[in-house]
C-alpha cells in the first residue's frame, strides 16, 4: 500500500489477555519504529528495527512487551497479560533512513484494557 498500515485499529481486551498488534510499513523502508501514545500525551518511543534487527528496545515498559520483525517487513507488537495501564494508542512508523526524523506514521491501534 501507499502508507503505513496498522491492524486492528481498535482492540478491547480484558485484563490478563494477550494482544498482538500488526504493522505493515511502506515497502522498501528499512527502519521501523513503535511508539506508545497515552491519552493527552505525545508519542513515546518503544522500540526500533533496522530491517529484521531490533537495535533498540529501551522504551518497552516491561518484559510483557515484545516486538518482532522477522523478515524485515511486517512487524508485530505483542503485549502479554495486559494491564489497564497498557491502554493507549500504539503507533507504528517507518522511514527510508533512520536519523533524519522523516517518519511516516500509521493511524495507530487503540488498545483499551478493561
Amino acid at each position: 500500500g501507499a502508507g503505513v498500515s496498522q491492524s486492528p485499529r481498535y482492540k478491547v481486551a480484558k485484563r490478563g489477555q494477550d494482544v498482538a498488534l500488526r504493522c505493515d510499513p511502506i515497502s522498501g523502508h528499512v527502519s521501523l519504529f513503535w511508539y506508545q501514545q497515552a491519552l493527552g500525551q505525545g508519542p513515546e518511543f518503544l522500540t526500533y528495527f533496522q530491517n529484521e534487527a531490533q537495535l533498540d528496545k529501551s522504551g518497552l515498559p516491561s518484559d510483557r512487551f515484545f516486538a518482532e520483525r522477522p523478515e524485515g517487513s511486517v512487524s508485530t507488537l505483542k503485549i502479554q497479560r495486559t494491564q489497564q495501564e497498557d491502554s493507549a494508542v500504539y503507533l507504528c512508523a517507518s522511514s527510508l533512513l533512520a536519523g533524519t526524523g522523516e517518519l511516516f506514521f500509521g493511524e495507530g491501534s487503540r488498545l483499551t484494557v478493561l
Partner: protein, 117 residues
C-alpha cells in the same frame, strides 16, 4: 536525554488570523527539531524539520518555524490560518549525533489548534 515542552495545550484562533505554537526543548547535545501534525483520524505527518543550516525553516501548508539556539526554542508560525489547519501539532527533538540515538524522537504533549470561522 532530551525533553520538549509545548507551552499551550490548546490554541483557539479565528480564520485568517496569525498563529504561533510554542515549543521549547532541553538537551545536553546538539539536536534536530521537528514539527508533526495530526489531523483528525489520521496518522502523524511531518510538517517541517530543522537539521542544520538556515534557522528559518519552511514547511508544508504555509507553516514555518525558527530555531533559536540561545532560547532553546522552535516555535511554529503561520501568518494566516484556515479552517483546515485545525489539528494537533507535536514538536519533537532528537539528538544529532551520528552513531548515537538520532533515530529516537522525543515528542511534546501536543497543542490542539482550533480554527474557528
Amino acid at each position: 536525554a532530551q525533553s520538549v515542552t509545548q507551552l499551550d495545550s490548546q490554541v483557539p484562533v479565528f480564520e485568517e488570523a496569525p498563529v504561533e505554537l510554542r515549543c521549547n526543548y532541553s538537551s545536553s547535545v546538539s539536536v534536530y527539531l521537528f514539527w508533526y501534525v495530526q489531523y483528525p483520524n489520521q496518522g502523524l505527518q511531518l510538517l517541517l524539520k530543522y537539521l542544520s543550516g538556515s534557522t528559518l525553516v519552511k514547511g508544508i501548508n504555509g507553516f514555518e518555524a525558527e530555531f533559536n539556539k540561545s532560547q532553546t526554542s522552535f516555535h511554529l508560525r503561520k501568518p494566516s490560518v484556515h479552517i483546515s489547519d485545525t489539528a494537533e501539532y507535536f514538536c519533537a527533538v532528537s539528538d544529532s549525533l551520528s552513531g548515537g540515538s538520532n533515530y529516537k524522537l522525543t515528542f511534546g504533549k501536543g497543542t490542539l489548534l482550533t480554527v474557528n470561522p
